[in-house]
């Protein structure tokens, strides 16, 4: 099926790129969505059956593929609203849709690929397609954001490649298939520790650009800020998940070597620094979209804490990852409406959102409660489990520090969101405010409901998939 999906999606992306006709454009987009869903359902029904040698839909891939398909459908709907409201030229629209289809396709392929080099190729391709989305508005600032994103990602992808080379040095038996994740896991006990230590450092540092962790998080922040909000929703949810998939597969290999506790320490340091950096910037930042981008850094840090703590933390990390993708994408969809009303993302220019868009304001308020992990949000459950894992792993000081930082994040987040919702805007002319149709907030409500459902009463199938994902990790 992936043999049909990849060429099919690439052809659709190519046609979108050259086509200028509005109706044909819509047909192509719908065709892609159908293809994406058929592919997802097919892979769900064929778990763990390798295709084309290098692709294997294991449980982690299935979980994230379903998440991607669920998010991509409203993302394309909101893109349509965004592009028509801005009255973009047919050429820009064509490039935008082609890049978005390409991005979704390569991310799906990266989830499924079972060979580290193949994953690497797809990670490289996400940089290409994401940069076209970031440069959509074609001005100085988007150019700056795109240039920084491309350059930092180019460096990071080189780091990952160096890591892969070191990993190949660490093997005793080298051959074409020895770098598949399965074969790495099977040979985990015999790898050379010196080279694999270097390999882990380089791969992890390189992947932090996509994951959104210290040290290479910076490019992602500018990218999510400058990209149109539906694209920003994809960048801060499914793209970060792709970084996580690659990281997690490597982590499973290292967890079965003598380096397990060493890798945990590396991850713990990166996670703590990420939460710290996110706190510092969220208190200071005045641009709502950038604040959300920093919030993604914070959540990724929490997920990594769960991985480092082990035990129940693994389960919590995967759960948190999926729930975070839903909540973050729905806030980004909502920010698009805020921007259409106030024509600004600065916290100084917005206010009284309830007056201008009541439905949107309700979504925003709920999103605030959900993303700061207050009950009944599903993120409350996953964060509670992460803290429990930290407690059980005797990282008590880490836990206290993180809780302190999270309190500051909730304060900073609340300060800005309540300013948006309730305080009066300064110097805002509300004579011709755009009316937003409440139906545009429907997808956000569905996502918020889904988060509660998955967090509080997860279906058996979902739990089994997560447990299947973490079965190769030591207890």
């Amino acid at each position: 099926m992936i043999g049909i999906y990849l060429p099919g999606a690439f052809v659709i992306s190519g046609l979108l790129f050259f086509n200028r006709n509005r109706i044909f454009n819509s047909i192509l987009i719908v065709a892609f969505l159908i293809l994406q869903w058929v592919f997802t359902v097919y892979e769900y029904l064929h778990v763990n059956i390798a295709e084309l040698n290098y692709f294997k839909p294991d449980s982690l891939a299935i979980l994230l593929l379903v998440t991607l398909s669920i998010i991509s459908t409203p993302a394309i709907y909101h893109s349509h609203i965004y592009l028509t409201s801005k009255k973009d030229t047919p050429r820009n629209t064509a490039i935008y849709y082609a890049a978005m289809v390409m991005l979704l396709t390569v991310i799906s392929a990266a989830y499924l690929s079972n060979h580290i080099a193949v994953t690497w190729i797809f990670i490289e391709m996400t940089t290409l397609s994401a940069s076209a989305l970031i440069y959509h508005r074609r001005n100085n600032r988007t150019l700056e954001g795109t240039w920084k994103y491309v350059f930092v990602c180019a460096i990071s992808i080189t780091f990952v490649f160096i890591g892969i080379l070191f990993l190949s040095f660490s093997l005793h038996q080298r051959g074409g298939d020895s770098l598949t994740f399965d074969s790495l896991l099977a040979n985990a006990a015999t790898i050379n520790l010196f080279w694999s230590r270097l390999a882990f450092i380089f791969i992890f540092t390189g992947l932090t650009a996509k994951l959104g962790l210290v040290p290479m998080y910076t490019a992602g922040i500018d990218a999510k800020d400058k990209a149109p909000s539906p694209a920003g929703a994809l960048l801060s949810s499914v793209l970060m998940n792709m970084g996580f998939v690659c990281f997690f597969r490597i982590y499973i290999v290292f967890a079965n070597t003598a380096l397990h506790s060493w890798t945990n320490n590396v991850i713990l340091i990166a996670a703590l620094l990420s939460i710290f950096v996110a706190t510092v910037y969220m208190v200071k930042v005045k641009n709502i979209k950038r604040m959300l981008a920093y919030s993604s850094i914070e959540h990724m840090g929490l997920i990594m804490l769960g991985v480092a703590a082990g035990g129940i933390g693994y389960y919590a990390a995967i759960l948190h990852l999926i729930l975070h993708s839903f909540i973050k994408s729905s806030i980004f969809f909502q920010i698009g409406q805020v921007y259409r009303i106030y024509k600004s993302k600065s916290i100084y220019d917005v206010g009284n959102y309830f007056k201008y868009n009541t439905t949107g304001a309700v979504v925003m308020l709920l999103c605030f409660i959900w993303v700061t992990a207050m009950p009944p949000s599903g993120l409350f459950i996953s964060e509670l489990m992460i803290f429990r894992a930290l407690f059980q792993a005797h990282y008590i000081i880490v836990m206290i520090v993180v809780m302190f930082l999270l309190t500051m994040i909730i304060w900073a987040f609340g300060k800005n969101i309540f300013k948006l919702l309730f305080a009066a805007p300064v110097g805002f002319d509300d004579s011709n405010v755009e009316r937003i149709n409440p139906i545009e907030s429907l997808s956000q409500f569905i996502f918020l409901g889904l988060i509660v459902y998955l967090g509080i009463n997860p279906p058996v199938e979902f739990v089994t998939l997560i447990q299947e994902t973490i079965k190769n990790l030591p207890k």
Binding site: N140, F151, I157, F161, F194, W195, Y281
Partner: protein
């Protein structure tokens, strides 16, 4: 023979650290391309001929001829001034790059019973770190790209170390090379030249918190 070539490669890094003009950087990159051609030819002689031809073509045509010519074209087209404008004096750069080489040399002593020859490790790691150093201490955007190309050369050497057993990794290195050169140079330096008149990193300071 490989050792001699790799040592000459390392010496070119020292020359890179004291280069003042952008043209010198481009010439060094072309020269490094020729050395990589030699190393790849000797190291990979046993692999599949088609693959070998691809690798050799990439080093000689792409790294040695096309990329330097293209860089030259970009510099002329965007009227970039000839000076590389480092933040630090050349003397300090020379010391830093020497230190990088010495440190990687000392680090390589930790390697025990490996099938990889140490010289590849030393040369490639010092090239990678020199490239990062050049990126962080030069002012122009084009020198960032040049520093990135130096890193690419370092990665290529590293991939040659396992090249005879895993030609796939060398091909991936080539893919990375083409991606970076075509994408970074082709699209962006042109765009940046069109939109920002003076191509300088100081112009890229708008996005911040």
């Amino acid at each position: 023979m490989i050792n001699v070539l790799l040592i000459i490669f390392t010496i070119s890094l020292l020359y890179l650290s004291i280069a003042d003009r952008l043209l010198t950087y481009i010439k060094i990159l072309a020269f490094q391309g020729i050395i990589l051609f030699g190393v790849a030819f000797i190291e990979l002689i046993q692999i599949n001929p088609v693959n070998l031809a691809l690798v050799l073509l990439e080093t000689i045509v792409f790294k040695t001829i096309l990329v330097p010519l293209f860089l030259n074209y970009i510099i002329k087209r965007n009227k970039i001034t000839r000076d590389s404008e480092p933040f630090l004096p050349n003397f300090i750069s020379l010391i830093v790059i020497t230190l990088i080489i010495i440190i990687t040399f000392l680090l390589s002593n930790n390697i025990v019973n490996s099938s990889i020859s140490k010289i590849y490790f030393i040369v490639s790691l010092s090239t990678i770190f020199s490239g990062l150093y050049i990126i962080s201490t030069r002012k122009k955007i084009i020198t960032h790209v040049l520093g990135y190309l130096v890193i690419e050369n370092g990665v290529f050497i590293l991939s040659l170390a396992v090249g005879s057993e895993m030609p796939l990794l060398v091909d991936l290195g080539i893919l990375l090379d083409i991606f970076a050169s075509v994408f970074l140079l082709g699209i962006f330096v042109n765009k940046i030249g069109d939109i920002l008149k003076d191509v300088d990193v100081d112009q890229l300071k708008n996005l911040k918190d």
